[in-house]
């Protein structure tokens, strides 16, 4: 006998976000690093910063650390990110 059953998933179509315009280069740019603050992030982001400065000649590197590594970045960090040319977010552990 045929049975009728229902779809258990959300089915909702989530609006996709448009990516920011791509940069053509990093030289002279301001790069923000958003760290989750875990133990391994010190080495990870300091290495990234060194690479950005030495290899790619970025003008400035800004490091911001979330207060809760399992929650989104605070609003003020997101707001500040508007002034950056590029943001890098990583786990680092």
């Amino acid at each position: 006998m045929m049975i009728r059953v229902l779809n258990p998933t959300s089915e909702s179509v989530v609006a996709t976000l448009n990516p920011a315009p791509r940069l053509t280069g990093l030289k002279g740019k301001t790069v923000g690093l958003i760290s989750n603050g875990k133990e391994g992030t010190d080495g990870f982001f300091s290495h990234i910063e060194r690479l950005l400065r030495e290899r790619y000649q970025v003008a400035e590197v800004v490091l911001r650390i979330k207060s809760n590594y399992s929650a989104p970045a605070e609003g003020e960090i997101i707001e500040e990110a508007r002034s950056w040319d590029l943001a890098i977010s990583g786990l680092g552990d």
Partner: protein, 361 residues
């Protein structure tokens, strides 16, 4: 197989599928990643509607919104997953209330379900609904103690998988996880405790049924059958809490302690109730950061070796639950996933959280 954009009732809006039989349905759901690996009860429109009718909710009732990914949770989808888990309509109010609690900001649902830490969502029931749906709080309480708690716990997980994409490797990034991620629901032995219930201790009126949700690690079982002194019994629980501070996470948060009848009887004779137990564990479950060096974590002690860390930042953070079979000095400590950054939430079942508060005379 026939599909269409909505079900055959007027109110249900989910996509439906016409399948050959129950066996066909099993493979259909498994093949789409819509199960936890166990067989499911096929969610027919009739069964789903019965759950909605039981809670008197329209299908599109908004249960809440997951705050981080901003995904709405509607009653119809919860009901579909509850039926799949094996829930009867009478179980559904607990599932709805648990989700309302989980969607509170302080629970940090996205983090709790995505974290490499691999916690599960422990659901603790209080009030008359425990008897109404046939829960048991005695033998094998942390295992398959009864139908109701088994299927309610499973419904929580299936809804996470299907509504919020919390599948392993998708949103769920757990390194290990634990068996509670299949089902993790218990009911408190209120009649056998001699204490106010857990929900009462968390400001829920005695007359109300309630659900407490907690982002929880696996249970750590302890045993002490060789003393009748409350202090010595609790020293064993405190030692397990200290072990968690050393071995897992040093941050304070809610801790569940499951205390069986054998231990509770010694507490009763000595006149120890919730307050005395919580105060004792608050004082005893502490370590110095330097103790990390005894478990291979010396590299992060640094200059804070003398700093003291409490498992409980206050006695009120203890979630003491009376449960367990009649014999045996076995208890359990269930630690938090992420200290105080994810907090246990207790809500009354059937309470209208959006209603205006009554105006005092």
């Amino acid at each position: 197989m026939k599909t269409a954009s909505n079900a055959m009732t007027d109110s249900l809006k989910s996509q439906y599928f016409d399948l050959d039989d129950v066996g066909d349905a099993q493979e259909f759901y498994h093949s789409r990643g819509w199960t936890d690996g166990f067989p499911i009860v096929p969610p027919t429109p009739e069964a789903v509607q019965a759950c909605l009718d039981w809670v008197n909710m329209p299908a599109n009732e908004l249960i809440g919104i997951e705050p981080v990914r901003e995904r709405s949770i509607e009653a119809e989808k919860l009901a579909i997953n509850a039926v799949m888990a094996g829930c009867l309509p009478a179980h559904f109010p607990v599932v709805v209330s648990a989700w309302m609690a989980m969607l509170k900001d302080e629970f940090l649902l996205h983090g709790a379900t995505a974290s490499t830490g691999g916690c599960a969502i422990l659901v603790i029931l209080n009030g008359s609904i425990r008897q109404e749906i046939g829960t048991r709080s005695d033998f094998n309480v942390l295992g398959s103690s009864d139908r109701a708690t088994s299927v309610i716990g499973r419904a929580i997980r299936l809804a996470l998988i299907n509504i919020l994409q919390v599948s392993p490797g998708a949103i769920d990034r757990s390194t290990l996880g634990h068996p509670g991620k299949i089902s993790y629901c218990i009911a408190e032995d209120e009649e056998g405790s001699g204490w106010p219930s857990l929900a009462e201790s968390r400001d829920i009126p005695k007359e109300a049924s309630a659900v407490t949700v907690f982002a929880a690690g696996a249970p750590r079982q302890i045993m002490n059958e060789w003393t009748r002194k409350p202090e010595e019994i609790l020293d064993t629980y405190a030692a397990e809490m200290r072990a968690n501070l050393r071995n897992y996470s040093i941050w304070s948060g809610n801790y569940v302690v499951i205390m069986p009848p054998q231990h509770r009887e010694h507490m009763r004779v000595a006149g120890w109730k919730r307050k005395e137990i919580a105060n004792y564990l608050f004082e005893k479950a502490r370590i110095k950061r330097s103790e990390w060096s005894t478990v291979g974590k010396g590299s992060v002690v640094r200059d804070k070796g003398d700093t003291e860390y409490c498992a409980l930042s206050s006695p009120e953070h203890l979630l003491l639950v009376a449960a367990g079979g009649p014999a045996g000095g076995f208890g359990a400590v269930i630690p938090p996933w992420l200290g105080a950054k994810s907090q246990a939430v207790t809500v009354a079942i059937g309470a209208c959280i959006d209603c205006e508060p009554s105006i005092p005379n």
